[in-house]
Subunit: 791 residues, 2 copies
C-alpha cells in the first residue's frame, strides 16, 4: 500500500505510465482539475472507457426527497445532490473508420502527467487501431485559476506510419449516461438520471452552446465552447446541435508528419436568478475572454498563479520522496478545491467526484481551512463568507429546532440541512463551533478587518447564541451541553462532549471579544452587555468531564465507564465497523471511529497540560480504529506532541497516501480533501509543532528519523514566515515586512527580514514506548524504512 504501481514518485508531478482500466475511476479523481468553481474529472478526452464521467459546477445540485419510514419533527424533507453537468471535455476521434477506444486495438504508450507547478494535465498516447492504423495523440488540459468560468484543452493527433483519415468530434454533452451507483439507493439514482432540462442549444462555425435548467432546484446551467483549429488544407468542419448535444466535426486526411491541432475553450456559468439571456451573455463573455487570452495566455496565467501560490505554500521534505510528492499533490488539490469557490462551499470531495452527494461538512472548517488560512488566505475567507451567506438558513434552522442564533447544517450544498440521520446530523452541533474556530483562526492569521466586521461578528454572535441556548447552568453554576454528538461518529448523544464543550467555550469567549472590538456591528445584531456577560459566564463555567478514577479528561461525561469494544473478537474483515455492527452497539461502547478528545487536544491544546495530553492520547489510541479518513492527521499531530514522532510519521503516511494508494477504496467517488489537507497538518502542526492559540504563533519542531529536513512557509499577518527544520536546528525567517513575534518551544523569538533566527532544538527525551492501537489497527509502519530515503 505504501507505493502505488500506477504512479511514479517525482517531486513536482504525478505521472501515470500505464493505463489500468480497473483503476480508471480512481485515476479520474486524482487527475481531476478544478479551480473550486468548475471541476473536470480526469476522464479520457474521448469519453470512454470511463470509470465515472464528471463535470461539476460548485453550487449546482438537484433536489431529491429524503424518505423516512418513520418521520419526525424537524427532519429535512428534501436533500441536495451534486449533478454531473454539461461535459465540455469530450473530443472523440474516428481513425479511418474505427473509433479511438483504448479497450480495443493496441496501446503502445500511455502517459498522463499532472504538473503541480503549471496546473496542466498532459496526456500522450500511441495506439494502433484493430485495423492497423497507428496514431499518436497529445493533449493538455487546464481549468483556469485566473478565469474562473474557463477550462481549455489543446489536442493534437498525428499519424505514425501511414496516411490516415481522421474525423474529430469536439462536443458538449448534457445528461450523459452515468454508471449505476454501486450498492446505491435506486430512488436517488432515479431522481438524478437526466437532471438537465434543455433550454437552448446552438452550434455555428466553431462555436457551441448548451443551456439547461434543473427541474427541481431551478438552476440554469450554460456551457459554451469555441475552437482554434490548425489543420492541413482540405479539412472540412461542420457544427450541429440538438437538445443535449452540441458538436463541432472536423474531417481531414493526415500524412505522416502532419498534425491536426485543436484548441478548445470552454466557458461555464450557472444561476438561480439571472435570466436566460443574461446567463447566455455571461458564458459568451467568459468564452470571448478565454479565446482572447488564447491557449498560451491561459497557460502563462496558470503558471504565474501557481508560482505565487507555491512561493507562500510549498512544503519541502527531505528523506521521503513519496511524502514530498504527496504533500504537493495534497496542496495542489486543496488549492483546486478552494481557490475560486468564492462564496460557495468547499465540498468534502472538492469538485473531483460525486461522493457524499457533493456535500460540504465540518471537514472544511476543521481540516481544510487551516491549510488555506496559512497558504491561500483569500480562499479561506471566501469559504467563510459562504457560511456567512447561509446565515439566514442557519438562523431559520435554529428557530425550527427551538434554539437561538444559528444552527449550521451538518451536510449541505445550498446551506439548508440535508442530513436525514439526526443523531449524527442535527445533534452534531460542534460544526457551529468549528466554523467559529475557523473564523477566529482566519482573523488571527490575517488581521482582515473588513472580514471580521462584515462576516466575523455575525458568525460568532449567532453561533455564541446557539451555544448559550443549547447549554444550561446547573445549580452550582457549571455550564453543561447535554445530548449532543461530538466528532467521533461511533458515539452519539452524549452529555458534555469535551471537544464540543471546549470548542463552544472558545466560540463564546471569542464572540464576546469580537463584539467588544466591533460594538457598532454588534449593536446591529442587538447584542447587549448582559448577553456578552452571559457568554463569558458560560465559557468560564464550561464543564469538562474528568475521570478521577483514571486521572484523565474523558471524551464525554461518564464515557470511560462504558464497556470497551471487544477488539480481539473483531476480525479484520469487519472493518469499517459501521458496515458490520449496529450503531446502537458502537455508540454504547468505548470504540472510536476517529479522533474526538484527541482533536480537542490539538485544537484546544491550550486547555490541557502536557501530561493531560499524554495520558488521554495513550488511552484513546487504544480505542480508535480510524474507520474515518478524518483521524490519522490528528493522531499524527498528537503523537508528535507527546513524543512519539515515529508513530506520528506512520500516521502522516496514512493521511498522505489516502487517495494515492486508495486506502479506503472509495477514491473513485472523489478525493478526500480533508485528509489531503491533513498531510500538511501532520507535517506543519505535527513535525513543525505549529500552534496558534489566542493569536500566539508557536512552534516545537521535531523530525522523525527518516526525515533529514522539513521546510514550510506560512502566511501570517501578511508576511511569509519560512520555517526550516533539520534534525538539530530550526530556522525561522521572513523575507520582508515588520518583525514577527513567535515562540519556539515556549521561548519568545522575534523574527525580522534582517535577522532570520536559527535555534537549536532541545534534546528530545528518549522516545518511550508508543501507545498501542486496537489489534490490527496499527497504521502501516512508515518509520521502519517503508520508503527509500531519496532526497
Amino acid at each position: 500500500m505504501i507505493s502505488h504501481p500506477a504512479y511514479d514518485i517525482e517531486p513536482w508531478c504525478l505521472r501515470e505510465t500505464e493505463l489500468n482500466l480497473g483503476l480508471l475511476a480512481q485515476s479520474e479523481s486524482v487527475f481531476a482539475l478544478s479551480n473550486g468553481h468548475v471541476g473536470w474529472r480526469g476522464n479520457l478526452d474521448e469519453g470512454e472507457p470511463h470509470g465515472l464521467p464528471g463535470t461539476y459546477l460548485n453550487g449546482v445540485y438537484e433536489l431529491r426527497p429524503l424518505p423516512y419510514a418513520e418521520a419526525g419533527y424537524g427532519y429535512p424533507a428534501s436533500g441536495q445532490s451534486v449533478i454531473d453537468v454539461t461535459n465540455g471535455k469530450l473530443i472523440r476521434l474516428l481513425v479511418d473508420d474505427e473509433p479511438f477506444d483504448l479497450r480495443y486495438g493496441r496501446l503502445h504508450h500511455h502517459q498522463r502527467v499532472l504538473d503541480f507547478r503549471t496546473g496542466l494535465l498532459h496526456r500522450t498516447v500511441a495506439w494502433t487501431s484493430p485495423a492497423g492504423s497507428t496514431v499518436r495523440i497529445r493533449s493538455s488540459r487546464l481549468v483556469s485559476f485566473t478565469q474562473r468560468a474557463v477550462a481549455a484543452v489543446a489536442y493534437e493527433v498525428e499519424p505514425v506510419d501511414a496516411e490516415i483519415r481522421i474525423v474529430l468530434q469536439s462536443e458538449l454533452v448534457a445528461n450523459e449516461q452515468l454508471p449505476p451507483v454501486p450498492g446505491g439507493d435506486p430512488r436517488s439514482a432515479a431522481a438524478l438520471e437526466s437532471p438537465l432540462v434543455p433550454e437552448e442549444n446552438f452550434a455555428r462555425d466553431t462555436r457551441l452552446r448548451l443551456i439547461h435548467r434543473t427541474a427541481g432546484s431551478g438552476l440554469q446551467v450554460a456551457v459554451a465552447a469555441d475552437h482554434v483549429v490548425e489543420a492541413p488544407a482540405g479539412t472540412t468542419t461542420s457544427a450541429e446541435s440538438t437538445e443535449n448535444l452540441s458538436r463541432l466535426t472536423l474531417t481531414t486526411h493526415l500524412h505522416p508528419g502532419q498534425t491536426l491541432r485543436v484548441e478548445k475553450f470552454v466557458a461555464h456559468g450557472w444561476s438561480s436568478t439571472r435570466s436566460l439571456p443574461a446567463l447566455h451573455d455571461q458564458v459568451e463573455a467568459a468564452l470571448f475572454s478565454a479565446t482572447h487570452t488564447a491557449w498560451d495566455g491561459l497557460r502563462a496565467e496558470q503558471h504565474t498563479y501557481l508560482a505565487a501560490f507555491w512561493a507562500g505554500a510549498d512544503v519541502e521534505v527531505d528523506g521521503d520522496a513519496e511524502i514530498q510528492q504527496a504533500v504537493r499533490f495534497a496542496l495542489f488539490h486543496v488549492l483546486q478545491a478552494g481557490a475560486r469557490a468564492e462564496e460557495r462551499a468547499i465540498p468534502a470531495k472538492g469538485l473531483t467526484g460525486p461522493g457524499y452527494d457533493g456535500h460540504c461538512f465540518w471537514d472544511t472548517e476543521t481540516f481544510v481551512l487551516p491549510l488555506l488560512t496559512y497558504t491561500a488566505p483569500q480562499a479561506a475567507a471566501q469559504a467563510l463568507r459562504w457560511r456567512f451567506a447561509t446565515l439566514p438558513a442557519a438562523q431559520e434552522r435554529a428557530r425550527q429546532l427551538g434554539l437561538a442564533g444559528a444552527a449550521f447544517p451538518w451536510r449541505t450544498i445550498n446551506g439548508s440541512e440535508c442530513s436525514s440521520y439526526w443523531p449524527a446530523g442535527t445533534a452534531a452541533f460542534h460544526i457551529n463551533a468549528d466554523i467559529a474556530d475557523a473564523v477566529v483562526r482566519y482573523v488571527a492569521a490575517t488581521d482582515d478587518d473588513a472580514f471580521a466586521r462584515e462576516a466575523g461578528v455575525p458568525l460568532l454572535v449567532q453561533t455564541a447564541r446557539l451555544w448559550r441556548a443549547l447549554g444550561h447552568h446547573d445549580p452550582q453554576g457549571a455550564f453543561h451541553i447535554d445530548g449532543v454528538t461530538g466528532p467521533d461518529e461511533y458515539s452519539a448523544l452524549s452529555d458534555d462532549n469535551t471537544y464540543t464543550n471546549l470548542m463552544a467555550q472558545q466560540n463564546l469567549a471569542a464572540a464576546a471579544h469580537l463584539v467588544s472590538r466591533y460594538p457598532r456591528e454588534a449593536g446591529l445584531l442587538a447584542v447587549s452587555g448582559a448577553e456578552t456577560a452571559s457568554w463569558r459566564n458560560a465559557a468560564a463555567r464550561m464543564s469538562v468531564p474528568y475521570s478521577t478514577a483514571l486521572g484523565m479528561y474523558e471524551q464525554s461525561a461518564g464515557s470511560t465507564s462504558h464497556e470497551v469494544w471487544d477488539f480481539p473478537a473483531t476480525g479484520p474483515e469487519q472493518y469499517p465497523l459501521m458496515l458490520c455492527f449496529p450503531y446502537f452497539d458502537l455508540y454504547r461502547k468505548q470504540v472510536l471511529k476517529q479522533a474526538d478528545l484527541v482533536l480537542a487536544l490539538h485544537l484546544r491544546g491550550d486547555a490541557f497540560t502536557r501530561d493531560d495530553k499524554a495520558r488521554a492520547f495513550a488511552y484513546y489510541e487504544a480505542l480508535t480504529v480510524r474507520d474515518s479518513s478524518l483521524s490519522a492527521c490528528t493522531q499524527a499531530v498528537l503523537a508528535a506532541e507527546t513524543g512519539h514522532v515515529e508513530l506520528a510519521y506512520d500516521y502522516l503516511g496514512e493521511a498522505a497516501m489516502m487517495d494515492l494508494s486508495d486506502l479506503e477504496h472509495n477514491t473513485r467517488d472523489g478525493l478526500h480533501i480533508a485528509s489531503l489537507a491533513g498531510t500538511w497538518t501532520a507535517l506543519v502542526a505535527g513535525f513543525g509543532g505549529m500552534r496558534h492559540h489566542e493569536g500566539l504563533l508557536s512552534f516545537a519542531p521535531r523530525l522523525p528519523t527518516a526525515l533529514s529536513r522539513l521546510a514550510f512557509t506560512v502566511l501570517v499577518h501578511g508576511r511569509a514566515l519560512r520555517v526550516e527544520v533539520t534534525r538539530r536546528t530550526a530556522t525561522y525567517s521572513v523575507p520582508a515586512g515588520e518583525p514577527l513575534e513567535i515562540q519556539h518551544y515556549g521561548t519568545p523569538l522575534k523574527v525580522s527580514p534582517l535577522s532570520p533566527r536559527s535555534v537549536t532544538l532541545p534534546t528530545a527525551a528518549p522516545e518511550g514506548t508508543a501507545p498501542d492501537q486496537p489489534p490490527g489497527r496499527r497504521p502501516l509502519r512508515r518509520s521502519a524504512g517503508g520508503a527509500p530515503p531519496v532526497g
Copy 2:
C-alpha cells in the same frame, strides 16, 4: 370530554342513538367485533357511508419496503402492514330504485347497541328514501368466540307504510377502496392499494367464495359465505362472481307487515403454507359448521362463552356509572383482541383498525396480558406461545446485532422487526424483559406446568442470555446496561435505565429459577451451571441509579442533572410535543412522554420502599406530559399506592375514556387496547392495590370518595378470588377449591370456600397535597364530581 354525547351510559352495553357522520370512523372502532382471529370494524351493513372500512385477519399483512435516506447496519429492509381483507359484512339494499344510503333521504331512527353480555352488535334504523319510501331495518352481527373462523349477520328489512320493491345484495368484496391515510406517507399507501391478487371466485345458489393471495408476503386469504333467506313467495335469487366480488342478489316486493330476513354466515381462513384446495376446504368446513349451528346456535354459544368470561372477570363499580360502563367495555374489547388470537400477536389496536400498521408492541405483555392472565388465562398463554413461536426470528435478530439469546422485535406482525427508527426500536430492549415478566406472571398465576416447560423455559433462557450479553460488569463488579431506551419515548439511549435494569434483573433471576425447576428442558438449551451463576450474579449486582443529591432513584444514570423542559414556555397547542419539537431536544431534557421509572415502581414495587415510591412519583409527576396512552393507568396505580386516591381516580378516568371520548383523536384508527386494559389495572392494582411479586398475591384496597364499592374477580391457581371493597372493609372469597394464601395490607390471610374473609381497611393517612403535573397537563378532574354518582 367526560361525557360523550353519542353514547348513553348503561352498565352492560354501549348504545348510540344518533348517527354523527363526523364520528363515524371512531364509532366503527368502538363497535368493532372481533375474536382475536377475525376482526370486523363496526361499518354500517350497507358499506357506505363509512369512516374506514375494515376486515382483518390476525397475521395477514403485506410487506412494504422501509426507505432510508441514510441506511445503516441492521436496519430492517421491509416492514409489514396489516391489510383490509375480503369484506364479508356487506349487505346492500335498493329500496324501490334508490340505494339505501343514510347520506340521503331522512333518518327517523338510528340505534346501535354493543351488548357486552351477548357479544352482539344490534342496529335498528327507520329511514325514508328521497323518493318517499320508508323502511325499517334491524340487523344483528357477531364474530363468534366459539367458532373462530366465523362471523354472522342477521338482517331484516320491512316496509313501514306502503309496498316497496327491494333488491338486497349480500356480498364479499376484496380490494375495497380505502380513504386516503391522513398525512400519511404516499409510498406506504401506494404499496397497500389493492393488496389482494385473485386466485379463485365462486358463487352458486346462496353460496359465495373468494380466494386471494398477497403479492409480497405470499399469504392466501379465503372468505366464504352462505345464506338462509326467509322471504315472501315470489322472491328471486341470483348469484354471481368476479375476481374481487362475489354476490347473492335477492329481489322481492314487500307489503307492510312482510319482512325479508337474511342470515349471512361468513367463514374466514388464511395460510402461508397450505395449498389452495386445502384452504378452500378449510373455509367450506368452517362455513358448514356455522350453518349447521345456525344463527340461534351461534348466538347461544356466544352468550354461554361470555357468561363464563364475565363470571371470572367482571368488575363492579358503584358510584360512577360511566366508569362501570367503561371497564366492561374495556374488558369486552380486550377479550375480543385476545380470545382466539391463538399463537398470533395481539396488536396494539387489536383487530379494530389499521393503526400502527397492525403491529404488536410491548403494550401486549406489559398492559394487556396482566388483565388476560387473571381473567382469561388461556388467551394470555396463547399470546405468549406466539412469542415462543417467533423465538427463531428473535434469536436471528440477536445474532445480527452481535448479541446472544433472543432480541424480540419492537414492532411486528410476523415476528421480524419492522421498526425503522432504531433509537426507539432496536434500542428499546426492555421488551424482552417485558415478555419475561408476562411469562413469570402467567406461570405464577396459573401453575401451567406444560406452558412453563415448553415455552416458559426457552423464553426466559433466551431473554436472560440477551441481558447477560447486553450488559457488563464494571471493575467493582456492578452490572450495567448502557445505551438503551426505556419505556419513555421522550428519552433514548441512556445508561442504566432503572426500569430496564430492574426488569432485566427479574428476567435473569427468574430464568435461573425456572432452569432449576426444569433441568431437562434447560439441558436441551445447553444451559450450564456457570451460565445460570452468571445470570444470578448479574441480577444480584444490577446497577440502579440513585441521585444522592435528590435522595431518590432516577430514571437513568445522571438523568436528573439534565435541564428541565421549559414547560411554562410550552403552549397547549404544542402537545403532543413530538409533533412540535425535535427528538434531540426532548431526549436531552427532563420531560417524559409516559411513565418510566414510575412503571418500575409498579411492576418492580418489591424493589422500592414506600418512601422511595412517594419521592420518585412526586418528582416524575412534574415531568410527565402523558403524550402516550400508556401512562395514565400506571400513574393511577402509583397515585393510589402513595396515598393520592383522588388523583388516581382522575387518571382512571383518563385511561377509561381514552376511546369512548376519543381523548387522543385517533380512535378512528382503532382502539387503544393497552389503555383499555389499563382501566382494569387502575381499578384492580390501583384501588384494589393488587400486586403479585414472587408468587405472593397481595391487596391494599382504598377507594376514592366518589366510589362506594368496587368488586372484582381474579383467577389464580385455578380459583376465582372475589374481592369486594367498600369504604371501610374488604371481603375476600373463593367459591370453590383449596384455600388461597393472600396478603391484605401486609397481613397474611387464608381465604377458603368456607370462610370468606372480611377485613377492615386501615385508617388512611390524611391525603397530603397531590403532586403537581406540568402546567396544563393535569388530568381532567373526575374526583371533583365530574360524573354523577349513579349506581
